[in-house]
């Protein structure tokens, strides 16, 4: 019974959460565009799906994804599992499984991310096939994997988050001057695109779980930040991917123009 009340509550909250966008879209449709949208009935049914889906998603998040991420983090940092004595000082090398798990979960969650799939398909379409959708997804997933792994290393060592992010920014700025002009907006976008429905809850729960189990870490200061890593490192990896492919092309055909792949469209 309590579970049903819980569901009803979440559905009600969801209605209030989705309401603003529905209002915005319909107000602009009615006042600015002034056209009755085609297939209005399908659109209305679609909104019902959004409501139901969103509610179920939020319940699933509470009941499964958050606890699962925390549980995995707890088990991987358990002193018994790591073979260290309680009260001993933390050494970053004891947590190798945590980094491996973080990288694996970062990579696989990103590959499955629906919004990344949507954007990479759009990028392939817009670039006239010069940018391969699948290669972009792999590049982004590698970036997220490295980012989340370094992020868990930061939680283990308790070093300040801003230093890492600033270092990431500096690398991005240097790469911006070296990479092809055409890739830059897409690379910048890939940072925000990656961290979505699947990745955010799992990664956030992993961070909070780690920060609460590792001795001397505060969930508030150390628990957050993994998503920030996952949004900066894909920029580095996508720009890096572009630089590597440009370099390979130049090596094969020394006289080809730098932006040749983009202008071929």
């Amino acid at each position: 019974m309590e579970f049903l009340i819980n569901i009803a509550e979440i559905i009600l909250t969801t209605i209030f959460d989705v309401l603003p966008i529905v209002v915005i879209l319909f107000v602009f449709q009615a006042l600015v565009i002034r056209k009755k949208p085609a297939r209005l009935k399908t659109i209305m049914i679609g909104f019902v799906y959004v409501l139901v889906g969103l509610s179920l998603f939020l319940i699933g998040l509470d009941e499964a994804l958050f606890p699962l991420g925390k549980l995995m983090a707890q088990q991987l940092t358990d002193p018994g599992f790591l073979g260290i004595e309680k009260g001993e000082d933390v050494h970053w090398g004891d947590y190798l499984w945590v980094y491996a798990f973080a990288a694996a979960i970062g990579f696989s969650a990103t590959i499955a991310e629906p919004s990344l799939i949507a954007v990479s398909i759009k990028a392939q379409e817009v670039s006239g096939g010069a940018m391969k959708a699948f290669e972009l997804r792999i590049a982004v997933a590698i970036g997220v994997a490295i980012g989340v792994a370094i992020g868990t290393f930061r939680i283990v060592t308790g070093t300040p988050l801003p230093y890492y992010i600033m270092a990431g920014y500096i690398v991005v700025i240097i790469q911006t001057f070296l990479a092809s002009k055409m890739i830059i907006p897409l690379a910048y976008d890939s940072g925000g695109v990656t961290t979505s429905t699947v990745t955010v809850p799992v990664v956030a729960a992993l961070g909070l779980g780690l920060a609460s189990t590792i001795p001397g870490r505060s969930p508030l200061i150390d628990g957050f930040g993994l998503i920030a890593f996952a949004s900066v490192f894909p920029i580095v990896s996508v720009l890096g991917y572009d630089m590597a492919s440009t370099w390979l092309r130049r090596r094969d055909k020394p006289d080809s123009k730098e932006e040749a792949q983009w202008t071929s469209k």
């Binding site: 879209l25 449709q29 600015v32 969103l54 919004s115 961290t195 979505s196 200061i221």
Partner: protein, 187 residues
Amino acid sequence: MDQGLEMGLFPIGEAMAQAMAKKESRTVLLRFAFALGFGTTVAEPALIAVTAEAAKIAGAAGAIVDTTEAKGSYAFWLRITVALSVGSALVLGVFRILVGWPIQYFIIGGYILVIVITGFAPEEIVGIAYDSGGVTTSTITVPLVTALGVGLASTIKGRNPMLDGFGLIAFASLTPMIFVMIFGMLA
């Protein structure tokens, strides 16, 4: 949910982005960009989850009063702050598409701003602020915003969809960091 997006949100969002792009009035377009950013972000499930979690931890750590009411209001205002910042980001991003300036000046400028504000923000908010950048842009926002950017850049003369169409998400992941840190300084 995905099917619902495809049937309900995608067609209406994309058609409107295209209709807007053809409109002459820049004010209407910028207003639409703000409303779109604000509306999609307020409804973002990942953001709802993370702000609730942030409030729980802020309450437990004594950063705010540990009552359901105080935590609810903290999470709510955090969400509003992030939604406002995404609205502003889309205004700035759409403006950039209209004038055709290179994105890197904006983003590098934003990075510098983030670094400077980090120096003044309370330590507890920095992690949440940095995370909020990535959290905002997900299932509802990304398809709508990408459609808007590419649609605009393809419609406006002299703009390249690859060079000018992408980049709105980058703005939307940068401004929340700045806004949330300021939220932390004021709250």
